[in-house]
């Protein structure tokens, strides 16, 4: 693997519109239940000050993907650019990847009785286009980036945010820019 593509999510810009989710569904015409991409709202108790904060998460194309390790049919492969691709045709629906992923991103399709997930629109990337979710994000809160040391050393770039599983398990290819917290003004 020569590089690792991933997502950079800016929670300061994200308004929780779920446009990324819709773009993903439109692109692949997925069934209603499986949500390859999902917008979450952080719980207030997870943050030091009351704030409405969203983050959008699909498969994190982890550096150490547990789904790939446990899959008995080699349905998962990792490309040279770090994208973890799930081969829907090979899947036998054992759901072991669901048990193994801390982010619950492989989703079981009850009608097709198979697992499916985000493949980071690799066919679009191969054509030089942005992934559907990134292209659809109006406030540009979601970006496709290369995960490397230079990115991690930038001011304000976080490897995780409150409410997420620790990144040590799978080393997810996602980074965050947390919201700037406003001043809390009290009338004493």
């Amino acid at each position: 693997m020569t590089k690792q593509l991933g997502f950079l999510h800016n929670s300061e810009k994200c308004v929780g519109c779920q446009g990324c989710e819709m773009a993903c569904k439109n692109e692949y015409q997925t069934d209603a239940t499986p949500r390859w991409r999902q917008v979450f709202q952080l719980r207030e108790e997870d943050y030091s000050l009351p704030t409405r904060m969203f983050f959008s998460m699909a498969c994190n194309h982890c550096a150490n993907p547990e789904c790939l390790r446990v899959c008995p049919v080699k349905a998962y492969t990792k490309r040279e650019d770090g994208i973890v691709v799930h081969d829907h045709d090979r899947c036998i629906g054992c759901r072991l990847c669901l048990m193994a992923c801390p982010y619950d991103r492989p989703q079981f399709n009850l009608d097709k009785k198979k697992v499916e997930k985000c493949n980071l629109c690799y066919q679009r990337i191969d054509k030089g286009e942005k992934p559907a979710c990134v292209a659809a994000c109006i406030p540009e809160a979601l970006q496709l980036v290369e995960i490397n040391d230079a990115l991690d050393q930038k001011m304000g770039v976080l490897k995780t945010i409150p409410g997420l599983p620790g990144p040590d398990i799978t080393h997810p290819a996602i980074r965050f820019i947390g919201p700037k917290q406003g001043k809390q003004i009290r009338r004493d």
Binding site: Q41, R43, E66, P72, K74, C91, C94, A100, Y103, P165
Partner: protein, 276 residues
Amino acid sequence: MGTWEWPLIVFTVLSQISIGIIFGLLCLDRRNQLKEKLFKQGVLVSGILLIIALLASLFHLGHPEAAYRAITHLGSSWLSREILFFILAFAGWLYLLWLSFHPTGKRQSSLLITSVLGLLGIISSAMIYVLPRVPAWNNVAPVFFFILTAGLLGALALVILGGQELQSEQKKSLLNWSLGCIIVSIFMFVLYTSIIKLNVQGAATVQFLLSSPLFWLRAVLGWLAPLILLLTGLKSQKVFTANTLYLVFALVGIGEILGRALFYVSSVGIHISALF
């Protein structure tokens, strides 16, 4: 919280009894105490259990017709390794079946090979659940518990199958072994819960178990009642009646099935704690 995985409960418990019986036959054969009739009965019952177990495992899959592909990732998937070892153990069992009708001198080595393959299958079964995502499983406990089920129910099944074929001393040593397995199982469970409750997800698993009526039913039926029956029976030196043996087997069997069900249901994985 996990789900009721009935196909996996049936598969794991029955396959472990099956391998436990084969291992018990091996132990008897090594002491030159294995009669031909018991060998035949043991092999037959063990095979029937293994076939039911393997068929039950298919019902867990979304696409059972493609189950043959599950053997293609031996490099890192314990599920692939589990399937491989159980298929090999089944091949070993087929040879044992042939031997039970055509006795030759290779019985002991065949029992040994089948037992080892089965044991590797059981260890692989347990290793599937050793996942960093699930702290309650991410330790050696699944391996211990799965092997204990095989040792406990395998020995009890053999005592019942043995009937007249087993001398009272042999029955006694098998029942002593079962008693030991129950005591180790209780001790292991206490140790296991005290270790896993040190982290949030493990503590949630322990809390779920201790507040579940099913767990207490499992503790009474699978541990306490057989423990009392076996202790009093072995202490009084009386011969266990067939009905008592059936009762002990049924109690332990129900206990192990409930325990396995709770193993799946009580699992709490590390997850995103946000609103959606």
